[in-house]
């Protein structure tokens, strides 16, 4: 298999994604099969092919520098898990 359980644990940490101990094996298997599927891509020579990030060959439109959004804190905070004095709260951040 192209991936080990350890790889999966590392990726999961990078993605801050908690996965159950008992699921690690199945994720390892599934991701490995996906990677196997992707090896097909190497069949095709893509030298000198420009990568395509967007379906439309367009350029970014620019917005006029105007203030259009106004304070909506109270409404935004009604859907927040934990707030105090206008701040969002999280466990202590150690710098």
């Amino acid at each position: 298999m192209p991936l080990s359980a350890n790889d999966v644990i590392k990726i999961a940490h990078l993605a801050r994604l908690g996965i159950n101990q008992q699921d690690i094996e199945s994720y390892t298997k599934d991701l490995s099969s996906m990677l196997d599927l992707m090896t097909q891509m190497s069949e095709l020579n893509t030298d000198n092919v420009e990568p395509m990030a967007h379906p439309m060959d367009q350029m970014q439109r620019l917005r006029t520098d105007l203030i259009t959004e106004h304070n909506n804190r109270e409404e935004f905070m009604t859907i927040a898990p934990q707030v105090e004095a206008g701040f969002y709260l999280v466990p202590k951040v150690i710098e």
Partner: protein, 477 residues
């Protein structure tokens, strides 16, 4: 062993736009927490970024000022990492194709000019702020700053001392303010610096392992932090240890740098082009428009001041150090019709001293350029003497009157009427026979006594040149 220091700086300059880089929320500093964070800044589900034209405009303006290559095609990328002040879990930045390519900036240290390479400058969004006090052991997140446009300016590792690094940073600070692309307010974090510092044995060409000192927010601290870091690294190497590549934080209270291990782990940012934004195209038209409005840059202005106004290097440097000061100077010269030197002396002398004392910037000067010009014009046309002018200046500072009114009101007009001066001179000569004798016997120094006496008698209002001329004639008998 002799060591050589190698320094490169990454400067984050907040662009002075009204609204954020990708949303229409305001960027003003100091608002109540989270009152300037809209759905886009908060990373709400489904919302999308649209690029602020002004931010692009400002980046290109800066690029032109450092004679950089402006990318005809640049791309925004997502820099992925989790941090509570980063609402989307990624920062929109630029990686492979930044908007501004290689340019340069000339600095002057101890009379020697040195060219510092600028590798690139790219647009990105700022993050919010974490507040650790007053939340009973928790951390509060304020996202007002999230989405504020930043221009990250990355230098080449061209600096060899803390002094050079500070000179570069000051020069850049002056430039961005000149261009009006950044307010340069370092207390508010509008202009921040990360320094990459390494050392190597003198003569060695390859670089040593570098440490990155994050978020230094004053010129003084940049100098101190770098010097501390140099000492630390020399000590490590001389003791046979190694410098570890890491991020360090400068503690200005303890005057030391320390490792920030918490931010070190898992430094895999997984950059990829942001699919919500399209490539930015800068065409010749856009560039031409900006070029047409590009202000005269500090170095060019300084040269012009030296040649056009015949100013010395130091005065020209001071007057060209900010656009507002330079404009003030040129307005005064133009309106007063005086010799530039006189204007320069007054601005760098009395006016600057008064501003310094009051803690004011030139833009807030109680004496406007028009009113100062009115005063200087009266010196120039001999209405008042330089000494009286200082009195008038005081009055200008205190009131909103113009010089002519103050002069008239206080009767400060200089006496150029030779008859009146002559009468006084005659009186003084008659009263001081002894001194006249001394003068005539060769004691030239006594001359000043006579000038003083005449001026005193005339309350300083006599034209000094006239007094000198007449006194000389009379004393010689």
């Amino acid at each position: 062993m002799e060591w050589e220091t190698v320094i490169g700086l990454e400067i984050h300059a907040q662009l002075a736009t009204q609204s954020k880089i990708f949303s229409g929320a305001p960027t003003a500093y100091g608002a109540e927490p989270n009152t300037q964070a809209c759905a886009i800044d908060l990373g709400m589900p489904g919302v999308l970024p649209v690029l602020n034209e002004k931010a692009v405009h400002m980046a290109v303006t800066f690029g032109m000022a450092i004679e950089a290559r402006i990318a005809p095609y640049s791309v925004f990328a997502r820099k992925n990492y989790f941090y509570p002040d980063l609402p989307k879990g990624y920062q929109i930045s630029q990686m492979e194709l930044p908007i501004i390519g290689a340019g340069h900036l000339d600095i002057n240290v101890d009379g020697i000019t040195k060219r510092i390479g600028i590798t690139r400058a790219h647009l990105e969004e700022d993050a919010g702020k974490s507040v650790h006090e007053n939340f009973h052991g928790l951390t509060g997140i304020d996202l007002n700053r999230a989405g504020t446009p930043l221009l990250e300016i990355v230098s080449e590792p061209d600096m060899r001392s803390a002094k050079e690094a500070v000179a570069y940073m000051r020069k850049l600070h002056e430039l961005v303010r000149y261009l009006g692309v950044c307010d340069g307010n370092m207390q508010e974090g509008s202009f921040r610096c990360d320094a990459n510092v390494s050392i190597r044995p003198k003569g060695q060409t390859e670089f040593g392992t570098r440490a990155e000192i994050k978020n230094i927010n004053s010129f003084k601290f940049v100098e101190k932090a770098i010097n501390y870091e140099i000492e630390r690294q020399i000590e490590l190497l001389e003791n046979g240890s190694k410098v570890i590549q890491e991020t360090r934080l400068y503690d200005s209270v303890k005057d030391e740098t320390r490792s920030m291990r918490s931010k070190e782990e898992a430094n895999d940012y997984r950059y990829f082009p942001d699919p919500d934004l399209l490539p930015v195209s800068i065409d010749e038209d856009f560039k031409a428009q900006i070029k047409a409005k590009l202000p005269e840059l500090p170095d060019t202005k300084k040269q012009r001041f030296k040649t056009a106004y015949n100013l010395d290097d130091e005065t020209a440097t001071i007057l060209s150090s900010s656009r507002q000061l330079a404009d003030y100077f040129e307005t005064v010269v133009k309106l007063s019709g005086c010799e530039a030197k006189l204007c320069a002396n007054w601005i760098t002398g009395d006016l600057s001293a008064a501003l310094n004392k009051a803690g004011l910037e030139i833009t807030d000067s109680p004496v406007s350029d028009i009113r100062l010009a009115g005063l200087l014009a009266r010196i120039s046309d001999n209405t008042i003497s330089g000494k009286i002018a200082k009195q008038v200046f005081e009055a200008l500072w205190q009131s909103s009157s113009v010089a002519d009114d103050i002069i008239a009101e206080k009767g400060l007009k200089q006496i150029t009427d030779t008859g009146a001066i002559e009468t006084i001179i005659d009186k003084i000569i008659a009263e001081n026979v002894g001194q006249v004798e001394q003068y005539r016997s060769g004691k030239d120094k006594v001359f000043a006594f006579f000038v003083g006496q005449v001026m005193k008698e005339m309350q300083g209002k006599a034209n000094p040149a006239e007094v000198n001329k007449m006194l000389k004639t009379k004393l010689q008998g």
